[in-house]
Symmetry: C2
Subunit: 253 residues, 2 copies
């Protein structure tokens, strides 16, 4: 019950939010009960599902910092079976406010553990950093899904991320496993894409998802309408690839 | 003397490092004396210029946290006229270590002020966040260059970034100005790109650079060879656009 998967990568713009939102929606589409939790102060996952963060009264910030009950921040989305816990810009302050707070790494875990069994899968979207918001998310999770953009700088950051995951596993969360590495924005006409694919297959063959997310403009258009790709254009290559990914993950449950 | 320009945007993957490295190299190519300072723990600007961060003894971390003299961390690059101050992964710890330190927002400014006049221009590359490393960079700078990826989520984050710049200007650095908004990864065949262009021209017409950086695969290939675009392929559209940008900035000095 309630498997918690965190989508993390400190490299920016690699497709964390796009993966969190569209995987969550594709899982809900496949009849799973899904909770999506936005742990990024940019609140892209929140706006990507059609909410305006500045109009929301409560968010995950209030749960972590002000001890508001997590049930009080659940939002129903337009997608059947998909519930959202939103973030707002005040979450930026949490990175600094958490530094001097007791059990600063496990505040999210304590809150999430009280409701995760009401869902089949919980997906966390993280900011592009390895700060306390990402550490809280890794500590609260069963596994990590790493979106990897098919670019040079993205590949460079992978070792650092795997080291951080190992540190969290040793010190804060023994159960933490690697769910898999997901190639994103893959363009078969581009040598760099093919080179990244080759390198990841060589070093992480058994950890790579079979699904690969192609570069697909529909994926970048959907958020401007506040809907996931399966609502925006279910026939697009972007939608197909996230439905494939959802099937792969459901088969493992 | 020594104009300091910070390249900042909390949205990830918008072209901060690509702009910092290639603008710095293009300015040096035009005979300016340039210092590039890597304030991102990912150290992409450091590796983008051919250095291996894990092999370096000292970095900007030692200047900000261990009071090492900033002259002791200057590195000569393969580009005439371009000097680098590198970063390493230990800079991640600085975000937390700075929280409880005296004058935590101005440590970089104090160090940079001692050497900036040895250069015509200083360029700072920032991490994708609005934490203490970015705040230190904004406080140490004369102006901010905002790379804006032609995508929906990137446009969404612009207001938050402009608010933060105003807060830093009011509280920490009265001199801070907006150098300009630079459109990056622009693709004229893509409606989203054209829509972002229209919106930025409507709301920020007088703050937009004339130069626009096109999506150009050569820009993403160059870092894997540890060289800027002007060394990798000077005839590419990517190189041309950064040379144009350098001319625009030099004309303002
Ligand atoms: N497969 C894809 N094809 C085309 N565009 C994509 C794809 N995946 C993501 N994008 C676009 O690329 C940009 C970066 O993606 P996204 O915002 O999901 O990355 P992120 O890792 O969440 O970024 P951040 O580090 O800022 O949180 C967005 O504008 C998104 O719409
Ligand atoms: N104009 C462009 N055309 C094609 N690719 C580009 C362009 N600009 C940047 N890139 C590539 O896009 C990716 C993101 O760019 P870059 O790393 O410079 O962004 P960033 O804002 O510094 O990211 P971060 O937020 O992680 O620091 C990189 O792989 C880079 O090589
Ligand atoms: Mg994101
Ligand atoms: Mg960068």
């Amino acid at each position: 019950m309630g498997k918690v998967i965190v989508v993390a990568n400190q490299k920016g713009g690699v497709g964390k939010t796009t993966t969190a939102v569209n995987l969550a929606a594709a899982l809900a589409f496949a009849e799973a009960r899904v909770l999506l939790l936005d742990m990024d102060p940019q609140s892209n996952a929140t706006s990507g599902l059609g909410f305006n963060p500045s109009e929301l009264k409560l968010s995950i910030y209030d749960v972590i910092i002000n001890n508001v009950k997590i049930e009080d921040v659940l939002l129903k989305t337009k997608i059947d079976g998909l519930t959202l816990i939103p973030s707002k810009i005040d979450l930026t302050a949490a990175e600094i406010e958490l530094v001097t707070v007791l059990s600063r790494e496990t505040r999210l875990k304590k809150a999430l553990d009280t409701i995760k069994d009401k869902f089949d899968i919980v997906i966390l979207d993280c900011p592009p950093s390895l700060g306390l918001l990402t550490i809280n998310s890794l500590t609260a999770s069963d596994s990590v899904l790493i979106p990897l953009q098919c670019e040079y700088y993205a590949l460079e950051g992978l070792t650092q991320l795997l080291n951080t995951i190992r540190l969290v596993k040793d010190g804060l969360n023994q159960n933490l496993e690697l769910e898999g590495i997901l190639l994103t924005m893959y363009d078969p006409r581009n040598n760099l894409s093919k080179e990244v694919y080759r390198q990841v297959r060589e070093y992480f063959r058994d950890k790579m998802f079979k699904s690969i997310i192609p570069r697909n403009v529909k994926l970048s258009e959907a958020p401007s309408y506040g809907v996931p790709i399966i609502s925006y254009d279910i026939k697009s290559k972007g939608a197909e690839s996230y439905i494939e990914l959802a099937k792969e993950i459901l088969a493992r449950l």
